[in-house]
Subunit: 350 residues, 2 copies
């Protein structure tokens, strides 16, 4: 089923943090649709949600048939996508999946529209397009222009990831943990259902499950997904992923080793010219940076602290921040859909 | 003046966060002294503080004469140390200085007792022994055993530094920022006197002033001090230093590139055998780690997440945490003094 100019869409996981942001972006960007179905687990069905002022019932995902849907956005977690996302694709919808279920499948493109939109030229045989991990998306958007200039040899990255990456319950648990600590510092903080230990005034250097290598799945995703998106199967990228007591906005501290000596000003210039990137810079001796709580534009990747390692002229540091619910999830999904619609427009015009 | 078994000591900056911790450690470790003078700015003089159950008046540092003092601990900030610390040394006290004032001076040893206690064998001509930066101390304590095994080529480190690094006012400002945000999320948070922007639910990738290289002074200290302590003037170490909304305990994510392929189990074993280091490890496929809020023993360097980069067999990651007020400041200073007293004991016995 080709994608028309105003597709019939469905949002699976409409009541979650990413679903909420998807609806917000559909309204804000005036995303075209001719019909919309809001889906969630049976637990949430019966609720209603508003989209562009109109109320819609939340329907049970398990009971929904996707035969009439052009585009289905999925963000209900990996295990749900494996079953229901696959079913939606089989029933004819083109699925834009936000989970880890299909990202590394050979028949499923993994797309960041600003980096590898060419992967969207033909409908994938799986019927699924995967949205990368929230930490991978902003990083590859900055790596690509630097790679074009100087060739990237290795990336060493430490992340500072917000509570919202664990959904609305992650945010609530952080707030509860902080409140408990301030109000009763001597009592034990019980906010450790979503996180392995309380996150208030704490750091948790472990996101997602452990892999046999001793890395976490989150860290492994950053490596494997970056290789697939940048089409560099031998890229060396190594990460430590840390949850921090920030409500929303993932930050990353990245050390990038290039093939050739780096001219800082050229990197700054290239990033300034990169679509939807906000550069914080005031010349070579300055310390200028974004902070996650005061992000100016949640639809841009923010980058600052761009500097060359004095002991290694081929290497530079940068500090990046992106709204993980938007750029790291919902916005990337919507932008994939927007490219698909533009392409449909063009093919009809041709 | 040689250091006797129970020296006359003075604490300059007794009312601050590090001064407070110094007194706590003097009590806890039963540090021997025959007299103690507590000093602070004229603003604090008139207060009294208890040491081992006895009350002492806080005296004005500017009016105090150090002629009778064997050991003077200084932690009132760099500008005060430059004037008053220098004067204390000229008046005959051996100064253990916690600031950045003298660390890189050729006539002043920079000492982490577990790493380079041999620097304490003779009294320095400056009369001053410098205590390194709070982020440098725990890192070099782990780097040395790894360097002995595999030779360290390069260290890439991102820090996660607590509010207490900015003193008691830093802690209060973090708590106030968090409280304001939770109670009145729509109002502007005014907690930005000690920090450039509010730290509650935020990250600030800038600690101390900007240097012409675009690095901060905090980042430059980590490089220069590590080189001096490890006696490796060409060591390549590059850092990004970030303030995080944690009350106390600095964490660091370090990527260590060695000269030769690294055997993970040997590193774990060597760190387990390193004095005052607590290793979190449960075998090669495990994700085990300390967190700053739940440090088990504030007098040890905690390390976990030790793992080899699968794409680079000569490199390993580790995640370390140390109490910045103790290991990063007061405890290191006390341990310097303890070595000096032991040496005096030995030389008298000889």
């Amino acid at each position: 089923m080709p994608i028309p100019r105003a597709p019939r869409i469905a949002i699976a996981g409409a009541t979650g943090a990413v679903g909420h942001t998807l609806i917000e972006l559909i309204e804000k960007r005036d995303f075209p649709f001719s019909a919309i179905d809001l889906l969630a687990s049976t637990r949430s069905s019966g609720k209603t949600l508003k989209v562009k002022g109109q109320s819609y019932p939340v329907q049970s995902l398990a009971d929904f048939h996707f035969g009439n849907v052009h585009l289905a956005f999925f963000s209900c977690g990996t295990s749900v996508s494996r079953v229901e996302g696959r079913r939606a694709a089989m029933e004819g919808a083109l699925v834009i999946d936000n989970t880890n279920a299909f990202r590394m499948d050979a028949d499923t493109p993994l797309v960041v529209p600003q980096v590898n939109a060419h992967q969207l030229a033909t409908r994938p045989t799986s019927g699924i397009i995967a949205n990368p991990n929230c930490s991978t998306i902003p990083l590859v958007r900055l790596l690509q222009p630097i790679d074009r200039l100087y060739g990237i040899q290795q990336v060493i990255v430490s992340t500072y990831q917000a509570a919202s990456g664990a959904g609305l319950t992650g945010i609530e648990e952080l707030k509860s943990s902080v409140t408990q600590t301030l109000n009763a510092p001597e009592s034990s903080d019980t906010s450790n259902r979503r996180f392995p230990v309380p996150l208030g005034f704490n750091l948790i250097p472990s996101i997602d499950v452990a892999m046999p290598t001793g890395f976490t799945l989150e860290e492994q995703k950053m490596l494997q997904e970056s290789r697939k998106i940048l089409e560099q199967p031998d890229l060396k990228l190594s990460a430590t992923c840390v949850r921090v007591p920030v409500i929303n906005g993932h930050s990353e501290s990245a050390y990038i080793q290039c093939d050739r000596p780096v001219d800082r000003e050229k990197v700054v210039q290239a990033l300034r010219e990169t679509s939807e990137v906000e550069v914080f810079d005031a010349g070579s001796g300055s310390v200028v940076y974004p902070t996650p709580r005061y992000l100016q534009n949640p639809d841009k990747v923010h980058v600052g602290r761009i500097r060359i390692d004095p002991n290694n002229p081929c290497a530079l540091w940068l500090w990046l921040i992106a709204d993980n619910l938007r750029i790291g999830a919902a916005l990337n999904a919507i932008q994939i859909a927007e490219v698909l619609i533009q392409q449909a427009d063009k093919s009809m015009a041709a």
